[in-house]
């Protein structure tokens, strides 16, 4: 168990996040720059928890208008119709293409929500110094990093549709503020995931090991 508990920081080393070189820090407070690539060295990402929290909160705030406000407005001869993400899901489902509705629901509603929830879960567990499910939590973090960008599909679709469907006066599509908030949610969660330091997951277990010693 002791081997598992040992970390570079505990041993007085710091690894470069850019090139992966392990080096001895100048001092425990200021590790200095990487001797190979010159990148700034950090034992742990600086203010990772605070930063991630800030971004998660910002994304959560943006998540509300992203879903309440319409993302685009379709103007046709029969009138104008604004669409929110959820109304898009409903329309797709009602018109019979339930699989498209499902994709939209997963990519645009559930994934951002899942990301926010997961990040919050990781942050809370790290702050509480939880030692359980360390490996699962690390895996969760890796998955978050990978799937996060897929939420951008919705934004791209909206962008394409707006650019392509400009058949005035028959039909035209215009973006609405919702799409901005939605992109903000996606980008903020990607950055938040990036700001989180998965090494923190293991720090607690090390602390726990130490006290056990």
């Amino acid at each position: 168990m002791t081997a598992v508990a040992r970390t570079g920081m505990r041993e007085g080393f710091v690894s470069c996040e850019a090139c992966g070189l392990l080096s001895r820090p100048v001092s425990p407070e200021e590790p200095g720059e990487c001797p190979r690539c010159g990148a700034e060295l950090e034992f742990r990402r600086r203010d990772a928890i605070q930063r991630t929290w800030a971004l998660v909160i910002a994304a959560t705030i943006c998540y509300l208008p992203a879903n309440i406000l319409p993302v685009m407005r379709t103007t046709s001869l029969t009138g104008e119709e604004p669409d929110t993400i959820l109304s898009g899901v409903v329309i797709l489902y009602e018109t019979g293409t339930w699989y498209l509705a499902l994709i939209l629901l997963i990519a645009s509603v559930m994934i951002p929500l899942a990301k926010l929830a997961s990040l919050a879960y990781l942050l809370v567990t790290v702050q509480r110094g939880s030692v359980r499910n360390n490996r699962e939590r690390t895996r969760l973090y890796r998955v978050l990093e990978i799937i996060g960008r897929w939420s951008m599909v919705d934004v791209f679709v909206a962008t394409f549709v707006v650019a392509l469907i400009q058949l005035k006066p028959l039909m035209s599509v215009a973006p609405e503020p919702g799409v901005l908030f939605f992109s903000a949610v996606v980008i903020l969660t990607i950055i938040a995931a990036e700001s989180f330091d998965p090494r923190l997951i293991w720090d607690s277990s090390q602390g726990k090991q130490e006290t056990d010693d």
Binding site: F13, R24, E30, G32, P35, Q50, A58, P65, L69, G79
Partner: protein, 547 residues
């Protein structure tokens, strides 16, 4: 990583101290997000317009979230909810209005569902064929804000056009409808914008709109009448046909005019109420205030007398019969005929000179009553039934002087006063005939016959005597007469030879005498000629040189 690695070869890191803030800048991100979010909420709240409710009879083509409320083709609101009223009799529409449209939502604003409409006078709402129905609004003029409306079923056809609205009261709608034209001197100057039945169920309220500047021709004295279709009327004066235009013949219309006798009044204020008459004649007839009603009791049959028949004064039309009926006599013993008439001062004016009209207008009510009393009691003004047309058999009431009529009084205290009557001409004729027959009845035809017979017998006897006794004597006398004549002839022929024959001595002497006279006359003529030329010869004697 192995435990026995040589760590001395690990290079030492360089250090450049940096100043760092303790609170990460990243917190700005959620703050900005929160501010933007709050900003949107605040903006939404501030731009939030009022919510209104409109009730309609049917939600034809209205869909929540898709139907807009438009004013001048600008979206000013959107239907958010369509529900049935509690008693399921109508629908209630809830609509979210734009904030800037707040001023349009006042008490008398009107809402209607705009849909394609095809009427005889035009086609409207074509745009809704593609865009779907929407709700139109006509802003009211009130300043009181209001949020609960009752939608109208038919759109007001006039919006944003200068002009004025008036109300007409009529007994029936006739052939009028929304959009029916209004004519002024046969010019289309407006249209009917709506109608409704008054609460009493007896009067129609017809709203009309007259475009500026023609609305200025409507004064308080203006009369409106229905020019719907062809107006054919058969009255005592014969058949009359009238129409305003071919269009109005088809879809009906209203015409108006101010009677020329009225002084040019001020333009009527907006929403003034007028009476809609059935035809021009009725419209141009004077109004109640100038009308004097009378009741007439005739002793003869009223057959052929109808309401609307003319009342003439000395042959000029001055009024009309309003009602013809029966009534129990005051002593309840029999039924008598009752005829109500009204006379129009205005119609009388038409036949009078200007000075007379002015004098008549200046007269007070009492003075007028006095005048009429004088006419009735002293001059014998009476009402009489007359046949106006022998073909139709229609009758009219004639007011004329009958100086020989029995005395009658007029009681102004009664309302309406009774005007005394005399028997009609036809009835008169009948009476006279009756009288003649009665007189004939009295003639003793039998006695006359007997007398006649006696006379003839006497005559016969006389003649027989003449033949037997007188004639032979007469014959003898005639023969004597012939003898006398023959001797007379003889005397005459001898006279002829003595006096008249060519060589008769009397003739010869007469001729000589005449010659002498002619010579004497010639001498006198020569003398007078000479004297004329030489008058001095009378004094001086004949001049020798002159002939």
């Amino acid at each position: 990583m192995t435990e026995n690695a040589d760590f001395t070869n690990v290079p030492e890191a360089t250090h450049v101290p940096k100043k760092r803030s303790r609170v990460p800048v990243v917190w700005i991100v959620p703050i900005v997000a929160a501010l933007v979010g709050i900003g949107i909420v605040v903006q939404k709240y501030l731009s939030e317009g009022p919510t209104i409710r409109i009730s309609f009879r049917s939600a034809e083509g209205i869909e929540p979230g898709k139907t807009f409320i438009k004013y001048k083709d600008v979206d000013i609101g959107k239907v958010t909810e369509v529900i049935l009223s509690e008693d399921f009799s109508k629908i209630l529409i809830t609509a979210k209005m734009e904030k800037h449209a707040k001023g349009l939502l006042v008490e008398d604003s009107r809402f209607w569902i705009v849909k394609p409409r095809v009427t005889l006078s035009g086609v409207s709402g074509i745009g809704t064929l593609l865009s779907g129905n929407y709700i139109g609004i006509e802003p009211g003029k009130s300043l009181k804000s209001h949020h609960d409306f009752v939608g109208i079923e038919v759109p007001p056809p006039i919006m944003g056009v200068p002009g004025r609205e008036f109300t007409l009261r009529a007994e029936t709608l006739g052939s009028l409808g929304i959009g029916s034209p209004i004519y002024y001197r046969r010019l289309n100057v407006g249209q009917v914008t709506g109608y409704d039945l008054m609460a009493d169920g007896k009067t129609m309220n017809i709203k009309i709109f007259l475009n500026a500047p023609y609305d200025g021709f409507v004064t308080l004295d203006t009369r409106f009448w229905e020019s719907s279709g062809i107006n054919a009327s058969v009255g005592a004066s014969g058949l009359s046909l009238q129409t305003e235009s071919v269009l109005s013949m088809l879809i009906g219309g209203i015409a108006f005019e101010t009677p020329p006798s009225e002084p040019a009044g001020k333009p009527a204020p907006e929403k003034s109420v007028f009476t809609l008459f059935g035809n021009r004649e009725a419209a141009m007839a004077p109004q109640e205030a100038e009308v004097q009603r009378y009741v007439l009791y005739f002793s003869e049959s009223l057959k052929g007398l109808q309401a609307g028949a003319s009342v003439t004064l000395l042959g000029m039309q001055i009024g009309e019969v309003t009602n013809v009926g029966l009534e129990t006599a005051p002593d309840k013993t029999y039924l008598r005929t009752r005829v109500d008439i009204m006379t129009y001062q205005y119609r009388l004016f038409r036949h009078l000179g200007k000075a007379d009209v002015a004098a008549l207008k200046a007269m007070s009510r009492e003075e007028k009553h006095k005048t009429i009393r004088h006419l009735v009691e002293e001059k014998g003004l009476r009402a009489q039934l007359r046949t106006s047309s022998f073909i139709s058999g229609l009758q009219l009431v004639a007011l004329e002087y009958f100086p020989d009529a029995p005395k009658a009084r007029i009681d102004w205290k009664k309302e309406p006063p009774e005007l005394p009557t005399v028997q009609g001409e036809l009835a008169n004729l009948e009476t006279q005939l009756k009288n003649i027959v009665a007189k004939l009845d009295k003639v003793p035809v039998e006695e006359i016959g007997k007398n006649l017979k006696e006379t003839i017998e006497t005559l016969d006897r006389t003649l027989t005597r003449v033949e037997g006794e007188t004639l032979p004597e007469a014959k003898k006398t005639l023969e004597d007469l012939r003898g006398a004549l023959t001797s007379a002839e003889r005397v005459l022929s001898s006279t002829d030879n003595n006096i008249l024959g060519h060589d008769a001595p009397a003739q010869q002497e007469l001729r000589d005498a005449l010659k002498e006279i002619a010579a004497a006359a010639r001498g006198i003529r020569v003398l007078t000629d000479y004297l004329e030329r030489n008058p001095e010869a009378l004094i001086r004697g004949k001049n020798k040189e002159n002939p």
